[in-house]
């Protein structure tokens, strides 16, 4: 039987993208009759913009671009890649870290923070500021790409930065920087999003379900095969030019919760027809943040784009469900 092509997009060297690599290495796509064509993007924004040109059908991205993608191009969020709350946050140079240990609010007030605006790291940084009783206007924020931020931080041209993993590990290991306050520390839940182009999902629900099943299978497998997974992770990160220590890789596994099919469905369970699931809460928070930054003009209704429809298709199909839960 001929394989159905499907265009999958992700960002290289990110923890949540590892399942794509593993599924490919293991040859799991053809088990569900899919032939993936991958495209990768350095950040979420160009990734979702490319959906307008039909460059991809499904994929994973940060939750901030997921919301923006819905508002601009009708992209659906169909699941969660991982909880990366601990992996996004405010990073400081060793000097800034010392000041921060003594007086967090004082160490931040009036300082310049370099960060990538409209990113999950931005979201986490805002939550951290709130936690220490600071307003946005109490600091100066400079918008830069992650690569520029790394250069600036490591050459002492910036002391405070909003970053995400594995860039955080890079600066921790190579420039002596420290994570000062993550999303997790500040109570900001930062989910990663599994996404699908709206019209593609509508026309090919089964393909989307198959995609989800393979993705979930990879997490299931990794949960019991960490040493091999770490080996593959090393390859995968290297492809994106990232080289971090084994310890940092293990830390990725330890600090970034992932969700099984059952957990995903539970996170998304709504009662009484209201958008009141756990995930609805996360994404409402995020949307509020984006309204504040001006990235979107109105807070979008979560029910319009966060949907468990496709996970339910996986659940409903015995073969796919088994696959999603398979540790082999």
């Amino acid at each position: 039987q001929a394989l159905t092509p499907i265009k999958i997009s992700y960002q290289p060297s990110l923890y949540w993208a590892l399942p794509f690599h593993i599924a490919t290495e293991k040859g799991w796509w053809k088990d569900v009759g899919l032939a993936p064509e991958f495209s990768t993007f350095p950040a979420g924004v160009p990734q979702i913009a490319a959906s307008a040109a039909g460059s991809w059908d499904v994929g994973g991205t940060g939750s901030v671009p997921a919301v923006l993608g819905h508002v601009r191009f009708g992209i659906k969020t169909i699941g969660v890649t991982n909880d990366e709350s601990a992996a996004n946050g405010l990073v400081g140079s060793s000097k800034a870290a010392a000041d921060f240990a003594k007086d967090p609010a004082g160490a931040l007030r009036g300082k310049t923070i370099t960060l990538t605006q409209n990113s999950t790291a931005d979201f986490a940084v805002q939550a951290c500021l709130k936690k220490y009783g600071l307003k946005k206007s109490d600091v100066v924020m400079k918008n830069m790409g992650q690569a520029e931020i790394i250069s600036a931080l490591s050459s002492n041209n910036s002391d405070l930065a909003g970053m995400w993993a594995p860039n955080t590990y890079t600066v921790e290991e190579k420039a002596g920087a420290k994570m000062l306050c993550s999303g997790k520390d500040s109570g900001a839940i930062v989910p990663g999003a599994l996404i699908a182009r709206g019209d593609y999902a509508k026309q090919n629900p089964q393909n989307v379900a198959k995609f989800l099943a393979v993705y979930l299978r990879a997490w299931s497998w990794m949960s019991v095969n960490r040493p091999e997974a770490i080996r593959m992770m090393k390859d995968f990160y290297a492809k994106g030019g990232v080289s971090i220590s084994d310890a940092a890789m293990n830390k990725e596994f330890d600090t970034r919760p992932t969700f099984t099919l059952a957990q995903q469905l539970k996170n998304m369970e709504r009662t009484g027809g209201a958008a009141n699931s756990k995930m609805d809460g996360w994404f409402t928070e995020l949307s509020g943040f984006m309204r504040e930054t001006g990235a979107v003009q109105q807070v979008p209704a979560v029910a319009d784009f966060v949907t468990d429809e496709y996970l339910k298709l996986v659940q409903a199909d015995a073969k796919l469900r088994d696959m999603a839960n398979s540790t082999k």
Binding site: A49, R72, A147, E148, S151, A152, N157, S158, A295
Partner: protein, 266 residues
Amino acid sequence: MVGLTQRKNHRRSVVGIATIVLLLIIWYLATTVTGWINPSRFPRPDEVLSAFTFIQTEGYGNGKLHQHVLHSLKLVAMGFAVAVGVGVPLGLLMGYSRRAEALINPAFLLLRPIPPLAWIPLAIVWLGLEDGSKILVIFVAAFVPSVINSYTGVRNIETPVMEAASMLGIKGWRMVTEVLLPGAMPMIFTGLRLSLQASWTTLVAAELIGALYGLGSILNQAAQDIFPAMILVAMAFVGICGASTTWLLGVLENHAMPWRKGRVAT
């Protein structure tokens, strides 16, 4: 025969304005009534207008439009000035002295083809996140045309003119100020125009380096927000600034070379 006829300027501007108006109408029709173009892929005129009003009144990307424009003008002016200040004398020197050329050329050849964008990492590391690093990136882009054109300008001074100068016993500083500089002036100005254009086209890259204000930072921010209408507003103002600074340069050029008055401009 069309190609042989003299072009009249007023006719040109009438056609030019008509063309632009026509384009605006086509744009309007294509994005609204007819629906040929999906507005999510290219914004409607009214969206652009409201983006313009928005940045004018409420501000966008840390500031109002005029703050952005002024900051970009400042960056371009500095980068351009440094590039010209270093590039023109260097080009004159390399043009005049074969020794200097042989000596300097290797470094120039090695550094010249490296894209300004590729300098960003080093610019940040060396000069930090303030204006210095942005000016360096603009400088890198604007430097090359200034050098090359000044060099070519000197080399293209007609041999009889150079021989006349040596026949008259001209040497040293007088040679530079009274022969090389005026002789190479037309080419130098061509170089300055190219340098200016390079400065503007590099602005966006330069402002990737943590800019608070600037048209480039607006472009970057609007790209991140996927706000095509705002992108167009920023593009339009980059175009307007580029065209007006070039016009200013043209005015300067006319005054700088009184001996060319009444000749056909290139």
